[in-house]
Symmetry: C2
Subunit: 428 residues, 2 copies
């Protein structure tokens, strides 16, 4: 692949034409389409367009109609991914793929996934309306069941297992039945797989789902990669005793130890510089009565970073603190790594540079950053040079009906996506 | 009552006889009876003689047989309490009552309650064998369902409500059906009530259930009262967000706030001198997933002390710390008092002095202390001058098959009980 990626920095061909013509995406149309898509699955507590639901089917039909409006030829692969293709000048070249997903979490919002899909369709629409013919074929993709475990992209990289298809989805159907329900063919799931080299590149536009871009007033996030994730199950053993008869200095209170642990995790993550995050998301105490000193606490740990080494180093720092806590509270901690964890998925350095150059050309500010959340793009890094473009999320809110991204920010991201596609097209 | 309590300090009458004859309780017999009682409900994970179970009925039958061996006349009151009576010289005098309970918690031990019952029976047995006739009638009581909420003693003070009788007990029967099952009459529950003045005094021998006496090598605990208990339900509201995309410094993590709260409670209880205790016994985080920052934590608080003022002061100190935690973690705490809470139930100062004098006479060391646990004695303080005698618990373990009190310590406590009964009998 590398030989094909001699980046041309001089202005010529479509990019030049593009620069001259200055055609841009249509912010009002994007907004109107996002709002229209949000109608499918709308409820008082958020959007319920979970994968494989009736609302999902309706949303997909709407998206297919938009593909047809952009003169894309539509097909649904064995995994239920919708693929809208536009031919290029050279049929021998591999397609540039871009897109995202339209399924959401229960009580979800209107921007996660949708911005990337409507943005991708806008790019296709603009090229169609301006009758721009580029070298490479283009494929707009709408991945199936992203929120259920990157199902569509997992199938596209040939790694969707039978076990994963037996899992129950939020729709109440198994993933297998769900794929069938949206027009895929789970019995021929291997047919959805692409080989390394089949695609020229993959691009995904997405809302940040964090508050960094908004807080720092930056227009575009250039995603360096999707962070790796490790999970641990944590057991803390103290000694359960009568809360009335056991003096304070005679206790082996597992919850007091747990409290020190939660603060130690927070402290380790905060005191080491970097963009890693560490979270204790669940906790329970046994026996769990107000009048009994907890003898046992079950809790957890999640650490995310772009570097697995950093994750392991942070975990080591937590363990160091835990040694002191064990001694001082007379308790014992056990950490068990929970499988499966996600490996860090770095994006392609050359694609990052092209996204940055596109932003600069559009006079937009940009910032390199990790994606703390998982995305279909992380699967696609296995298949093709991959890039991700983030746009600001107001208040950093995501997976919530309160999630919101401004019209201009979405338009900025879509313009960057379009220019990056064209820049990639120029690369021999 | 006070007029009747002119304490005679000179040696005369039975006490004098007692001092001369030096008759004592039989440690081997007490031990053998405790072990025999422990057979009813025995299991691999502890004793299962919960109130109203078949094992409870068998244990009660055994205890009744011991009452008869001591020539007590046995009756079962409307609440299922077993009362074994021994007449005194003066039938017009109110009886001195003493005893405890034989029901246990699920997976319980062999000493909680049983020591007080077998000890009380030993006192009756010794008086019977030595043909000692004292002035007051004596009543040995075995209260029903102590562990389920002091059911028997509550009925004896006329405060067992219909609601309390509708509660399901550990036996799988309602308290109402349970009382019927052991020979009581829930329809005539008021018949179990005694009036203030009906009893000369009430005494209960019990294991400490804490580790203070053992640690300080003290033979006898002179209980100053049963502590008051207040419970709070505590809600902590932060903001739930994506654990991957929300930087550490942008979080409103309710579990981090909860961790600081748990340590603040521990710190307040430890830094203020006194014998109060404070415990956080349960906790849960919402949504409770490893990959989501907890937006809400539900937890609790229990504070116990002999003085309600101290409880309120400690709670105020916790609230002061919580104000800082709220500000620094951007969370909001809500405390809701949980009804019913127990008021402190002080024992009678004159009875405490008699217990101390009895211990001294037997060359036993003693220490005044609160009872951190609830006991039938706390109800009885409403009815009669009440005293409680504690004996050491090895390791302070209670409500566990590991609970253990040494034979000699039980014998010491029983000797103190016997001498205190005789001292009370001397009081005009």
């Amino acid at each position: 692949m590398k030989a094909k990626w001699l980046v041309i920095t001089t202005c010529f061909s479509v990019s030049c034409l593009f620069g001259q013509v200055q055609f841009r995406v249509n912010p009002a149309r994007i907004e109107q389409r996002i709002l229209a898509l949000a109608e499918f699955g709308k409820s008082a507590t958020g959007n319920q367009r979970v994968a494989f639901s009736d609302a999902d089917v309706k949303g997909r039909a709407y998206v297919i109609s938009l593909m047809k409006e952009a003169s894309l030829s539509v097909r649904i692969d064995a995994a239920g991914n919708i693929i809208g293709r536009r031919e290029g000048k050279n049929a021998a070249l591999p397609p540039i793929m871009f897109g995202s997903h339209i399924d959401c979490v229960p009580n979800g919002g209107s921007y996660d996934g949708n911005v990337g899909v409507i943005g991708a369709l806008e790019c296709a629409q603009v090229l169609h309306e301006n009758k721009v013919l580029i070298l490479h074929p283009l494929e707009v993709v709408v991945f199936s069941d992203e929120e259920g475990g990157l199902i569509g992209s997992r199938a596209m990289i040939g790694m969707l297992s039978n076990e994963a298809m037996n899992v129950m989805s939020h729709s109440g159907k198994s993933v297998r039945d769900g794929i069938k329900f949206i027009g895929g063919n789970p019995d021929k799931i291997k047919g959805a797989a692409r080989k390394k080299g089949d695609l020229k590149a993959f691009l995904e536009l997405h809302i940040e789902q964090g508050g960094t871009l908004e807080a720092e007033k930056v227009d575009i996030g250039v995603v360096e990669g999707i962070v790796g994730i490790k999970w641990w199950n944590v057991d803390i053993e103290g000694f359960s005793n009568h809360a009335g008869t056991t003096p304070m200095d005679k206790r082996q209170d597992a919850l007091v130890a747990a409290a020190r642990y939660v603060l130690a995790v927070n402290n380790v993550m905060t005191r080491m510089p970097g963009r890693h995050v560490g979270t204790v998301g669940r906790i329970s105490a046994e026996p769990g009565a107000l009048n009994v000193i907890p003898g046992r606490v079950n809790t957890g740990l999640e650490i995310r970073d772009l570097s697995e080494k950093t994750i392991d180093r942070l975990f080591g720092m937590v363990l160091d603190d835990v040694k002191d806590i064990e001694q001082e509270t007379k308790t014992r901690f056990t950490f068990a790594l929970v499988e499966p964890t996600s490996e860090p998925a770095p994006t392609d350095e050359r694609v990052r540079s092209l996204i940055e150059a596109s932003a600069k050309e559009l006079r937009l500010t940009s910032k390199r950053m990790p994606s703390g959340a998982g995305h279909d793009a992380q699967d696609m890094t296995h298949l093709a040079p991959t890039g991700m473009i983030f746009v600001p999320s107001v208040g950093g809110i995501s997976h919530s009906p309160k999630e919101f991204t401004k019209r201009d920010d979405i338009a900025n991201g879509t313009n960057v996506l379009l220019r990056t596609i064209l820049r990639i097209d120029e690369i021999q």
